[in-house]
């Protein structure tokens, strides 16, 4: 069998000498040198992670926003929606991945659906609170000047509820960045692959790097949303 092809030989220096030991060989707590040299292996997982998070938060926002608007119009819907999104929030994501497995299979889509489900209650609840906190005098005044219900909602109530909506988005986003590490179990990629796959699971430096990227990403997204919030609500800025 193997005689059909010449046996390829690798040269002697293919084999490395590892007797010296070193930061990586000893799997010490953190090896900065290795990180600098191998930073590019984290690019793919980080990009996948961003896609997962952004997809989930955007989808979650669209759904929760619609639910909140509906519940604001028809108050009796508040409780059932809160309960339903609450159930989705309570179910652990990894459990959700595998509940979806028979329907959507292994892959990023399954992960995104589960992550989206987790964000719903946070965004819904915050937005509902925000809408409810609009002072009655303001609504009365708006109606007084002849705004339709739709105009009232979109031009008055939602803008005034912005701080709460942004707050909800921030919480949801930070939580989703942390949760998306689990997407690896659904075969959805993300930073979890650098934590759990193969021998990564004992690799201290690798886990620290992957975890740190996730935390930094959370901080970054949080800051971006905070900034967006400030830009969208100029009236909340104090005059100095």
């Amino acid at each position: 069998m193997a005689d059909l092809f010449p046996l390829a030989e690798v040269s002697e220096d293919f084999f490395r000498d590892r007797s010296g030991g070193g930061c990586i060989e000893d799997n010490r707590l953190f090896c900065p040198g290795w990180v600098v040299e191998n930073a590019d292996r984290y690019v793919d997982p980080t990009l996948q992670h961003v896609v997962l998070v952004v997809s989930a938060v955007v989808a979650g926002f669209l759904i929760a926003f619609s639910l909140a608007v509906l519940a604001h119009r028809h108050h009796w819907l508040s409780s059932p929606f809160l309960a339903a999104t609450g159930v989705l929030y309570t179910i652990p994501s990894i459990s959700f991945f595998f509940l979806l497995l028979p329907i959507t299979g292994r892959g990023a889509v399954t992960a995104i659906i589960a992550l989206t489900a987790f964000t719903l209650q946070i965004i819904f609840r915050n937005m509902t609170t925000g809408l409810r906190n609009v002072p009655d005098e303001v609504t009365d005044a708006a109606r007084g000047i002849g705004l339709t219900r739709k105009q009232l909602l979109w031009q008055v109530e939602i803008p005034l509820a912005m701080p709460e909506i942004i707050a909800g988005l921030r919480i949801a986003t930070v939580s989703t960045v942390a949760l998306a590490t689990l997407a690896v179990f659904a075969n959805g990629g993300g930073l979890g692959t650098e934590i759990v796959v193969g021998s990564n699971i004992t690799f201290k430096t690798g886990i620290i790097v992957a975890g740190s990227i996730a935390v930094l990403m959370a901080i970054l997204f949080d800051a971006l949303l905070l900034l967006a919030g400030k830009l969208l609500t100029p009236w909340t800025r104090t005059v100095r």
Binding site: F5, L7, A8, R18, N38, R41, Q48, G107, G189, S199
Partner: protein, 326 residues
Amino acid sequence: MSPIGKLKHLLLVGAFALSLGLAACSSDDSSESSSNETAAGGELIQSNPDNSGTSLTIGSKNFTEQIVLGEIYAQALKAAGYDVKTDLNLGSETIALQALKEDEISGYPEYVSTALTSFYGKEAEEVPTDSQDAFDAVSTEVEADGLVALPPTPFSSANAVGLLTSKADELGVKTISDLEGKSQDLALYGSPECRQRIDCLVGLEQNYGLEFSSFTPVDIGLRYGVLDKGQADLSIVFTTDAQLGATDEYTILEDDKGVLPAGNVVFLTKSATIDEAGPDYEATIELVQTGLTIEVMQELDARVDIDKELPAKVAADYLKEAGYTE
């Protein structure tokens, strides 16, 4: 595959193609298509445009050696002109086999010993020690499932009972049989599927008659970590593990009763896939694995597990060093 997966693999193929292109451009030797021998003695894989219409998905089980093998095969087949995706790190042998049977993957590398004992219920003694005999045995068995086992790799690997060298000296054990009378005070750690395999816990309990104080299933990647931390007195490891060669810290007990058979790796695939993919499929796989002696495999495992390089890079380096790719 998901859009993210498609994009990622598009990037990977693009990067690989680009690197091959760059290498070709920068190479001084005029590599005429007629000269196949390179300095390393390996035969250069030729890209056959006929293969571009065939899509293959290469799978692997969930530990380093498997992932490296999967990458080697995948990159080699790509070099041969196929449209290749990978679905590595699937899980244990039962999951990988299921994925193969259900056409989620085109093929994956399996150990002859695992196939015979786990899939076809053979006892450890029934696994032939001769590679050729073992290969014949597994070829016959897989035929019934519509599968084909391609010829084996030069190296073989086996499960082994590993422990810290200091612990081995302390207990005064050199073989697994030496554990008799001592094992009931020792904690054994292994992969989750170890609990149900005759070439693992089941065999140790039945054929060696050993009882352990506990068996804890952990992820395969933790097999040396649990020894380091003192959680495990004994841990199921692989004879080709990098960690065994790198230091004297770990040692494995001799399998004096032959309960943990060694197996060469055979690439399992469907006969339908072979027909569809053309002769380059089999030929390429058989070609690139000829360089995989046990020393080379251990070196590749070491590069991933100890040097912490990416399996894809390690595979690419191997293919280049052995002369299969440029």
